[in-house]
Symmetry: C2
Subunit: 183 residues, 2 copies
Amino acid sequence: MAQRRTKSEWVDGAFAALCAAGIDGVRVEPLARSLGVTKGSFYHHFDNRRALHLEMLSEWERLGTSMIIDVVDDAADDPEARLRLLMVNTYGADDVADAIEAAIRAWAAGDEVASEAVRRVDDRRVGYVAKLLSEAGMTPAQSTRRARLMYRHLIGEFIWRTSGGPASTRRELNEMADLLLVR
Amino acid sequence: MAQRRTKSEWVDGAFAALCAAGIDGVRVEPLARSLGVTKGSFYHHFDNRRALHLEMLSEWERLGTSMIIDVVDDAADDPEARLRLLMVNTYGADDVADAIEAAIRAWAAGDEVASEAVRRVDDRRVGYVAKLLSEAGMTPAQSTRRARLMYRHLIGEFIWRTSGGPASTRRELNEMADLLLVR
DNA sequence: TCGAAACCATACGGTTCCGTATGGTCGTAC
DNA sequence: GTACGACCATACGGAACCGTATGGTTTCGA
């Protein structure tokens, strides 16, 4: 028994295919080939192709929210320090994470279920940034505005990089943080 | 002879398909059906599918640069006024333009030629914003940094909206402009 | 050791699509 | 009125893929 594949290996392979060719590129037979098995394996683990897509969304939603927030909360106490740490972490150029983020958003443009997952993740992340800004002394309304501002900038950074643009420099990130904290 | 289609009608239909299903959704036979003709028409106007894709890129590159800039240059004189006008214009929620912009960027993530077209458009737009900021009294280096900051935010706005999020409010846009002009 | 379940290969029918080949139908120029 | 080019329909071969059906192999508990 040379090749045995778990369900999560199928999901990992699906993310790779998603980045390479979008959600329509997440196809059963090519995926099976790349995993060194046949479709038989796939239809053992999943009911159909759509079930794999939904599994990918769940996985991304799980990783995309709690992970970043928990790390930042543990690593710093001051809200301003947390904000700067958050920016360094999330803006850090991680090609894989970038590509997944961008591909999921592209997917969400044409799929209602994906769109809902993205909205949930966005709300959670923006809410966290707003909380930090609020703890740094801003009014709730301004915290929300600036959090959304920063989050749009962050998304732009992802997409910019996946389109081939250069990452923001450390200087640019510092300036961004400074502007967010201007009163 | 009820139905005759021009080359540009094919391109228009291709953009609609691009928004709905990504570049892989720009397929000859479905497109022909939606235009009420058959493939025979397509292969009269284009050599192959790739030729249509390249035609789409040219068209987007042409519209995506000169149009916005010329309008703003004509409508205001003061660089700060031009910046605010540019933001109102480009951030204005145009669902069709948003979707095209997002879809082209998604396409660029996996296609070198598309990626080059996006980079050319981005450079031209960022250069224009940097020129405005420079004319408003900033140093060249800071103008470039802030222009890139704004442009990333703008891309984030596009993607955010196509993922189902709400558009930036006028209040948020004003705050963004204010922060860009902070010294 | 025996049987059930987990896991996968193989073969198959059906669908969608690309690109080509071929021929038909207009308008227009001469 | 005919010759030609622009434009399109139809038919076809070939490829990629989905999902099902079926049967083989491995694992593991009773």
